[in-house]
Symmetry: D2
Subunit: 340 residues, 4 copies
């Protein structure tokens, strides 16, 4: 939809119409007393490429159609996708609980956590071997050694593994272990990485960038979907705002809005948003009650000794009580914690 | 806490110490290899007035003490305030449900809504007679006539009334009707207005400004509390962020954080944040599950005919079902919808 | 412009058209393959009141016309307003330099500053007698006594006075002294206050709220203009963002954008945005080079002793050099520091 | 600096001190009446790893030391770095003007632009062969073919080339042509990519992420510097805020603040921030007057035909006039457009 200035001349209007038609779109003129509108009906990308925002007589250009196609609810006629990951379901009425340490540290820590969270009701195990860190001087993850620990934890607990990929060069190693490949918030618009995991065909948990709009999140998902990989889980993990009283602002409005826009499952990470343990339970309950399809949460047998993000990890001993509360909140939204 | 530059001279350090001591505070020097710190122990306002941020050799000034006193949890040794408003409790385990139209339009609409929301379980009636509108050309509220309609609705339903005050000159008229005086988000830092409602002694529902920090919200409450009025209810109603897929970002992290910082009750307004009906229920459930002390929500017998904000009003006929869901979500957080 | 869902029925489309026509607007239907649009041509407020965002079949509503009329450049056919305030011009090619202390403290400070800034080239004197302070425990201004000091400074220096009004009840006292009434950022949407200064007919300097959009700023100006007061100066003073390395983010893009949207003069306050002296000069030069019509800046004979905001005040002794630099930057944008 | 709660016990204080000392840092206790502080003097990363934010009795943790070292002004004792890139200087009093098309499209367009911007006074040529696009359906750049066009443009014009790298797998090809490797805003925290360009040793132009703090920008630079590559140019290109009247908010306050924090040169990209041509000149003048070390700007011989971002490109024919204005603005800040 092109909005012409009130001072636009007939000539300028005609010129815009010609340019719209030059890319195979249909122009639809609508002249009011105060404003003239030109609807451009056709391929959004082609019209966007015209760059009409700068053309003489043009006030502004208002896109009407959504730019994503494969992620759209319209594709599935309003039905929501249910994924089955190594026997564990997510989506529809199936609530997933993905728990584990921020980072894989030792064999003992990883195995103990895996078994304990499974026993308490978690449906997948999370844990990072490659860690994106703001500081180059901070611990960057155990890498291959960490992946081996995750493989053992998977063998012993039977839980599917969610772990982060940061570099296309590590893809093969990750594919050996991961049931779900996590793309972190900082890499949400790392397009070569998105295309690679799209081609790899493994389920992807895609975290929203810390100041990405929901439309940008869906466009990032589109990069994966476009390669033929239909298994994308979206993850809200807190956005950046002016507030400094806590780390990130968890955007729970994103849950019902994404449910309207896309058929893909939506989970919430309350741990990174909160940055401290005392906020994790209330935020988890809120996310479940708002209709999330799952939660990805950090748990540690001994948070005081954790190498990274200990302050936000739940104590392993508190985890069973936490699961009971989350179940009740999910039930309010009509969801059931999926059994493995 | 004053952080000195690594290049600060002895002279500059001595000068800062002298200035700290000149306002009656104690200076506490702590010299490390890379940085020198000077703790200023005493009245925060006195030290702030020194304006040491600009002084020679000073890197920056980090405030350590909270600037609010009366709103602080420390004042009540961690106990949370329970208010009783015309027989209706809010705070502690008492969940309040404040419902009604955005704006008072007609006698019939107001009375019908009042009785229906009371029957469904609402504990207070909301409704605006004075409306802050972005456009001077928009409907500005019925004023005194609207207040009379609210008085009748109160008589007939028995519900306490929550209504907004925008102008100190309307205070007396508002006091005739209001059990709770609402201060809107745009007036959160209207200090003369805050001082007046503080002096009036009537309970106040104080909405967070759309880009106010939680500390600023508590400082605004402090303006009311300082006048001797202890009955302040804080209200989260959505903050402004970069996201454009919905109207405001409801900041539910504010609930548990405010619970740590202040003894005052905290309610949530999901209607204005969402801007559209379909988001109101999930956000209400999330707010209740996160531990809010109540919800203030818009309901209308015929939203299509509403003069303002119809798209975000719940249908009166859907309200009883809504109340049942909210009760279940509040129960997850250990709260009970308070009976009138 | 109403965008219908792709699933909207004929019935729903007809219903929207009927409602648009029910308020006297004309409906203009445009049916594409993927989307149906209904243009509503008529009074924006009337259409807005319909609240069509929530109606069945409606995807969303995109406003096309600007909601402000009197502030719009269209009103003046692209010409910019030049105001003359007690002999001092602002707007067009006239650059105004409004300088003085944050707050009026003593007779001596005020007079010394007034004379010195005039001698250096300032065109108006700023100074607050009523101060909006985040903390109720902070200094709130000298009030009437401060206004008397400003009156003396005006008599002695010949400079027009810019001072802030916070409360409608202080209007008469302010009118005794002020040549320009400042409305602070926190009061930008204090509508009763805006209407009063509109009726008072005195020039108004309206500061942008710290998270107000430019459209909201222009709507606030519209509240003043609507009362018949055409002398409104807009002021950019920094917006709130996620960045914590300085106080506010000065939005200099606002200058050329406002120049496109409105005929009103635009000035910039670099002092409050920066929060510290070292940033004030570069930001002032940037504002002038970007095409601002003026700057309002804080200057103090002895910032270390200033009661408020000393760290951001320029030293009086540095002010003449500052003025020379600002003149050169304004010249780049084709403006000349207006002589008094 | 660890701030203890007012309710912290002696035991809790002792425990924190022990943990601080356990990582080789020195603990410095400072007990006031209202608050107890524990300074942790030692390696910031070691103390951060303790995760004391969650420990019993701890109110919060306030970092005092900057987390970056190599990027800090302290490293150079306040001196600013001057880089020489293929004979073209940037930094100190040398102002760089990097101009060219958003994306390389054809041989003719690239050569014509290169020669024309050189003749007008540009000091480097910009142009993208690999383009990060929000939509997977949008043009993604010419890749290797584009790099060949840039090589020809360099041979013909003598201008150094600035071009973007998105994928570590393209590094070798980029190194064949690029004098400066651009890292885009979306990849600012793509740590494997940063480390690779660090190791490659070629100058890097690092764009600030659209919601990255200045501290995060400097930490990203630190990833490059840590590999031994000292040639990093920082680039402000607009941040994301709530404002929707233009594309991004150009953060010009970042210029003087970065000048205080780091010795690295700072340039500004007004084109992407603005999103439309009419804002590019005022923003460029503002950036130069604020003290930027250079500007990177988009120019196109025929913006209406540009494949991407045409609306923000300057017309080639207007470029010489633009350069003259920018020179004058840079002169206000004491900088001279560097000759090639």
């Amino acid at each position: 939809m092109i909005v012409m200035k009130s001072t636009a001349t007939e000539e300028q209007i005609r010129h815009v119409i010609e340019r719209v038609e030059s890319v195979g779109a249909r122009a639809h003129l609508s002249q009011g007393e105060e404003v003239t509108l030109i609807g451009a009906i056709g391929d959004r990308e082609h019209v966007a490429r015209l760059g009409l925002e700068g053309a003489p007589g043009v006030e502004n250009v208002v896109p009407i159609l959504k730019p994503y196609k494969l992620a759209s609810t319209q594709l599935r006629h309003g039905e929501h996708t249910v994924l089955e990951i190594a026997g564990s379901k997510i989506g529809g009425s199936n609530f997933a609980l993905i728990a584990g340490p921020c980072t894989v540290e030792t064999h003992a820590q990883t195995l103990a956590t895996a078994v304990a969270v499974r026993d308490a009701g978690a449906t997948m195990l999370r844990g990072g071997a490659y860690k994106p860190r703001t500081s180059p001087y901070a611990f960057q993850g155990l890498g291959l050694e960490g992946l081996r620990m995750l493989a053992d934890a998977k063998a012993q607990s039977g839980l599917p593994i969610v772990t982060e990929l940061m570099d296309t060069r590590d893809l093969d190693a990750i594919l050996e272990v991961a049931d779900v490949i996590q793309i972190g918030a900082r890499n949400m618009q790392n397009y070569p990485l998105l295309a690679e995991v799209g081609r790899a065909g493994r389920p992807v948990l895609l975290k929203r960038g810390l100041s990405s709009t929901l439309e940008e999140l869906l466009m990032a998902a589109e990069y994966v979907l476009k390669e033929g990989n239909e298994a994308v889980i979206l993850c809200e993990r807190g956005i950046r705002t002016f507030e400094t009283a806590y780390r990130f602002t968890l955007d729970l409005t994103a849950i019902p809005v994404l449910k309207e826009l896309t058929h893909l499952p939506v989970v919430v990470d309350p741990s990174h948003a909160a940055g401290r343990r005392s906020l994790v339970t209330p935020l988890s309950l809120a996310a479940a009650a708002a209709g999330a399809d799952g939660i990805i949460v950090e748990v540690h047998p001994n948070p005081e000794e954790a190498i990274c993000d200990g302050p936000q990890a739940l104590y392993l001993e508190d985890f069973p009580g936490y699961v009971e509360q989350v179940k009740r909140a999910a039930a309010v939204a009509g969801k059931v914690l999926a059994a493995v």
